[in-house]
Symmetry: C2
């Protein structure tokens, strides 16, 4: 990338390595997304790329091939197929899920072992972002801010008073060179109710917490050690063995013993309280593809009348219908006189709901789990 080419040798941009946590089944996207084929392995935008591949490609101009991927053991083959560039030693496989504290913490610890001056940036594999250049500009600002000694979140300017996201309250401007929009973080706040969300939006002080952050690995680990010493110790043990022949043995022994905690509680919130967190408000479009209603919004390419059709094989016929059809089969699907419907058609499971109820898919998954119908989960 031209931007990298003109970077001076001592620019903090050269210290950047991307981390992609590729986890989470995406239960609200069942039955398309499921344990064996989670959300990040699907092309939910009709772009021709899976969300994981799109995430990698979006980071490539900043990180080149300096990318660590953290995923479940079950997805190893699928991830390697999607990202053939990723080396064995840059693929962190979780034998069991341990939440984001362990996943991102281990990435930080491995990168620290390799080079303690590294600035890491963590970006989930299942989000949709556009345009890429505005995202990359925000990440560059975040890297410059991180180089000044901050853990930097990239927040999203809210487009509506969402009750589905946490918010970040931004404070004073930091005036960091190369990061004109960086601000201090006053606090992280949990998902608000509608009224509070509206106040947040009106105030102009709040951005959505998209779970993206950029930080010096040394600073990450310092906060992790202070707040979660046991987790820190386990991660250090694995990290020290990582680039040695002991990697698999040590990981297999230590990983299952690690405490489960989200990175927000393990690092971000205590660091914010200590004044160590900054935010760069992103002006790019962002969607966490939280349900099928948002899958429908993200796809404007193929419309059959008022129905958005996602899936190459589906043959969809409509009469007086609207909504979203997501199909990974080649079946004929006929919709007649039904509005705002959401249909997800897979080989062994079918979901029919409405855009209004798309958030409640998780309930069906829980019911299936409870009844023992786990073959389709």
């Amino acid at each position: 990338m031209s931007t990298d080419k003109v970077t001076s040798p001592d620019s903090p941009l050269n210290r950047f390595i991307a981390v992609i946590p590729a986890g989470g089944v995406g239960t609200r996207l069942w039955p398309l997304s499921r344990a064996a084929a989670p959300k990040f392995l699907h092309d939910l935008t009709g772009s021709g790329s899976t969300l994981l591949r799109a995430t990698y490609d979006r980071l490539e101009p900043l990180a080149g091939r300096r990318v660590l991927v953290v995923t479940g053991t079950a997805h190893r083959a699928a991830v390697c197929r999607q990202l053939p560039e990723v080396q064995e030693s840059d693929l962190v496989l979780e034998s069991e899920p341990k939440d984001s504290g362990a996943a991102i913490g281990l990435a930080a610890a491995i990168l620290y072992q390799r080079d303690p001056d590294t600035i890491m940036g963590s970006f989930a594999a299942d989000q949709v972002i556009s345009p890429d250049h505005l995202f990359q500009q925000a990440v560059r600002e975040a890297i410059h801010t991180a180089a000044a000694g901050k853990i930097v979140t990239i927040g999203i300017k809210p487009t509506h008073p969402s009750t589905g996201f946490g918010y970040i309250r931004a404070g004073e401007e930091l005036n960091i060179e190369g990061a004109p929009s960086a601000q201090a973080v006053v606090e992280f706040v949990e998902k608000p109710d509608e009224e509070v969300a509206q106040q947040y939006v009106d105030s102009g002080e709040y951005v959505w917490n998209a779970g993206m952050f950029v930080a010096p690995v040394a600073l990450m680990l310092r906060h992790l050690e202070a707040n979660q010493p046991e987790l820190f110790k386990g991660l250090q043990e694995i990290a020290q063995a990582w680039d040695t022949p002991e990697r698999d043995v040590v990981t297999a022994r230590v990983w299952p013993t690690l405490p489960k905690i989200a990175i927000d509680y393990a690092v971000a919130e205590p660091a914010a309280a200590a004044g160590d967190v900054a935010v760069v408000p992103g002006t790019f479009g962002w969607d966490d593809v939280g349900d099928f209603a948002s899958v429908g919004r993200l796809n404007s390419a193929r419309e059959v009348d008022d129905v958005t059709v996602i899936g190459e094989g589906a043959r969809v016929f409509t009469e007086n219908a609207s909504g979203v059809v997501v199909s990974d089969t080649k079946r004929v699907i006929a919709l007649i006189g039904i509005k705002d419907v959401v249909i997800v058609d897979t080989g062994d499971a079918l979901l029919v709901t409405t855009k209004q109820h798309a958030q409640r898919v998780k309930g069906a998954v829980d019911a299936l789990k409870a009844s023992g119908d786990t073959d389709v989960l």
Copy 2:
């Protein structure tokens, strides 16, 4: 059956032979019902019997094994599996559809060749009737009326002002022994609009035309000869060869040349104009299973919350949903927050509509035909 046992040797009941036309794809029940597996081959009531088998069993107390079945060549194997009692010579196979005039006319002509005193009764294979004894009682009255020289329709007392059926206007009582409720038919009328239908119901003079009739085969053929001499001639030619080694050769040669006309126009309406038609109003429950809304009404056996589920294999999960699910797959089907929905799930085609729009399924089938997607029709 006890009723047959006490019948005197010269009772007209002994002259009765049943004819079951098993035709019609049942387009409004697509994708369950389709060319290769039409409506009459499905168990749409959850009774454990297909509509065809139930029709046969309902007639058996009256006809014994004296039953002729008329169906398409393509359904030969399926019909024989359903009705192993039916002999080769009692199975009339249409190499191409020629409408009810030819189908029922050929049955009449074959039966006339075998015994000109036969009273035939024609009952479509795809209707739902209950209770059987009230149906059988109406047929007995119709046989007695036919023996008095009438073509007798069995009409259905309307339960609501349907615009989906033709009506029959009943006239004076005929006072025939063994047929206390037989009346003359004044006229057949086409499907009315709603206002007219309401007038029909209010008058008490009209019954629904269910397409069931009982008649001396000789009288049937006399009217057929008078109104459709060409059709009559062709049918006679086949009938004379039927119980000879020439059956297949003659049928193959003559059948494709026959004119297409409904039995209503070829026989019933002109016969009514000539004063030769009577009606026995049936008091049994009757449903022509015209769409999936009626499939839902007919099945109260298996309910998952407010959803009627038809099909053994389907695993259905609902939350705040109502409607009908018809499945011939073993897929998991989850319905969330959707009301009065109609879902028909088959291996290669899926229909999603509402009870209100169930009648419009035919439009989807026409669209599929137009687009060349005939593999699922």
